[in-house]
Amino acid sequence: MRISTAWSQQLSFNAMSSQQVKLAKLQQQLSSGLKISAPAEDPAAAARILDLDKSITKTEQYQSNIAATRGRLNLEESALEAANNIMYKAKDLTIQAKNDTLNSSDRLAIKYEVDQLLEELAGVANTRNANGEYIFSGDLATVPAFAKNAATGTYAYQGGLQQRALQISPTRQVADGDLGFNVFENINSSSPAADENGKRSVFNTLKALSDGLGASLNASSGAITGDRFLRYGLDYTSSTTTFDLVANGGITAPIDLSGQKFTDVNSMVTEINAQLTAGGFSGAIQARSNGNRIEFASVATGATSSIQINNTSGTFLTDAGFADGQVNAGAGAQTFQAQLSDVLTDLDAALGSFLDARSSVGARLNALDNQESQNEKYVIDTKSTLSETQDLDYADAISQYQLQTTALQAAQQTFTKIKELSLFKYL
């Protein structure tokens, strides 16, 4: 076969050019450290790299979620420990106070100490985290969990009703705290002063201790509390809602909220009390807000006093969280010893509640540790897969680079040698 001079030149050039392309490619790989510089080089791997990257960043986010959760749970744990210590002190004081040899001034001295403990516990329950959130307020994190009623000196829960959870793995969420309602307020009680559900908040228990020590052994009134969140009020602008409040088994006060809109629970309380006053029932029945809930109470105290809600029309029952005919009677005054015995039992119940919360926090912290090490392992495994997929094998690449360099040099040398061969040199 014959070959043209121009084509033989072209062939040598093609050979050198393809060597140079390969060299440039290797050089790019060596300088970037990556096997793949564009998806076309390995389309499947390119998509896999995106997936792996996503898994890694996502899991790293879970790790930082875990760190945030751990910080908050540790804070809650120390708050609960402080609350525990307060309880022990309160128990000691109660046992001390039950001693009949104490005189009233001794008891008053103890009372002042108990009052201090009450304030201290309120401080603990209103602990704030670094973001300024009240840790026991749930999803209403900007509002203190417990607020003091200036008139009665009692504390009522006013936080949210939902505990926030954080995502610590694709399928796992962990609550980053506990509701003050569950920890401090909703505690079983056998005391006659317990609410209609048999619950007494630890603040009320301490208040009862303080009151008992101050020798005010009061009879309690009947009170019913709706269990719905009414912080932002109710709207009856276009609906009818009426109900009756029956005090002491006979005094029936009709309440009509039709056509009115309330933007918070206090305006509703004010309106109901105004209607009670207008109807001349203010001496028998009273409405008040208990945190975010509405409460109806009889003004009279003692076993004969009671309060009932019935004859409702409209949706007030469900909206406020009452049952039709729901009734609660007051209780007579207890003796000093009986009151303190109940206090002692309830303090134990409160301790139990704190212990439950602490062990639940501990379990969650444990879960965080487990998940964290799982996530860590996952990240390491995924990173090594990613590295296998995208990182360059340097030893291989360098030896290839040397091979290509040699090949290019050989091509260049043969080119110049062949170019020297020409018949014209001999003419």
Binding site: A38, P39, K54, Q61, D139, R164
Partner: protein
Amino acid sequence: MSGLLATSLSGLMAAQRSLETVQHNISNVNTEGYSRQRVQQSTMTPRYTGDGYIGQGVQVTNITRSYDQFINKQLNSSLSAFGDADRYHQLSTRVDNIMADPSTGMAPAMNRFFNALSGVADDPTSIPSRQVLLSEAETLTQNFNALSSQFEEIRTQNNSDIGTRVNGINSLAKSIANINVQLTSAIGRSGGAILPNDLLDQQDALFSKLAEIVNVSVVPQQDGSSSVFIGNGQTLVLGGSSAEFTAFQSEYDPNRLEIGLKTTNGVINVTSQISGGSLAGSLSFRDEVLDPAQQQLGMVAAGLAMEVNALHEQGFDLSGTAGLALFNFSGDEEIPVIKNPLNTGNAIVTANFQDVNVNPSAAGNLDFSDFKLEYVGGTAYTLTRVRDNQVINLTATDTMSPMGKFALSFASTQPANIDVSALPGIDITVDLSGGQTISVGDEFLTRPTFNAAQKIGVNITDPKKIAAATNIEIDPATKQPVLDGLNNPVIIKGPMPGDNSNALKLAALGNKLGMLGGSTSFNGAYGQIVSGVGGLTRASELSSSAQQTLLNQAKESREGLAGVNLDEEAANLLKFQQAYQASAQSISIARSLFDTLIGAVR
């Protein structure tokens, strides 16, 4: 005696012509498209004598070029195939590189966006973490916009490229027609016996240049000219006249160029007939790589906006008001609807993305294609998926207000063998309420995904407006939602700053398999674009290098036949030099013979 001189002289002349031709070959060793030439010699008519026929020397009969029509045809078709594959490869590599660039990479931006949502879920009361989310959302949409504009830029360049190539075809066609005229006269001069080699080479080179741009068929004519046809018989060059190509804007999309042939009856659209050459490479790159990638990117953007907005609108912000859409689409209309200029009716057709809260699979039904709506009559419409011409039937119902505004829904009877069972994630309405009319055959083109990535933006600037809360009232003891009389969860009508439930749900969207019929996540859908473009680029790289090999083989066989080899020419130089010297020597012998004779009679 005089015969002796004349015979030597003819050898001298023949050797001289041959030497000239060798020198012509040597001079043109690097001329593209040059075919080496050879002098054809033959003996002169011998003289009859009583002794027999006496040879009268040599004569030059013709100068021919080494040429093989088959090899040239092979070369041209290889040039077309390579031009097509190479152009496609060059262009798709650009898209591929854009997708690979981590700074424009959508995937990290999407990851960061969902991580920022997770950050808001960690700290719903914190304004800084909400601000981070807004900036990440901004970055994400900007990345969508930037990537889309890069696609647009490639489209613009590709368009101007197509224009340049069309102009190239036109000027080549003109030159070929010119040469045709010269050829006809040159060949006519010798009655077809002697061919103008260099002129033919020039025309062959023009054919090759044309073949690089577009695949053509060349038909040699009796008079020596060549006719050039394109596609299935559209004439480009006929004798001394040439037709003109033009690139014109598509009726639905000014950014889309079609190829037309100017005729006396107007412009004929020949886009679908263009095959081979870099022009076809540009066109098929646009249809197979650029448009699908842009549509798919838009699909991811639209799907993300639909899913995130639906959840965000269900949530409540820091001040307790219901969430707004987090993402929006700039422009007058959410989805562009373009009317066919030939429509006789004046109905107003609008299209919107479906609400995921109403149709949970809306984002999954999105399709990376334009859709053509056509009125069939009565309440019947058809919707054609442009990317594969699949048709679905739609029914119009007058359920919207005001009267005469029709909502189109998936009809109960459908053509067989379709792979969809719902509208492609969009709602279409036809508004005839203001007395507008629609005629059978009226067409509208809707482009749900094409511009979505270009148009997506963030709707919210105030970090407090991020709806991290669901405001669902939870019973603290049972931890279950409180239900109202209709068994729906009760919504608290006020700010719940610490509620992160909606942010959690939004962050979980990052893992939701909501795209492409519920088969993949947003990231996965984006990954499919990357691997799709990567796959096409890789395939084009392979086919381009295969075509390169074939082209080299074709070039090699042409060069083997027609190329100039300097060593060969050097040998020929020697050969003809010797022949020349020998003929000159025989003249000198003739002279000495003559001198001998003169001396004998002196």
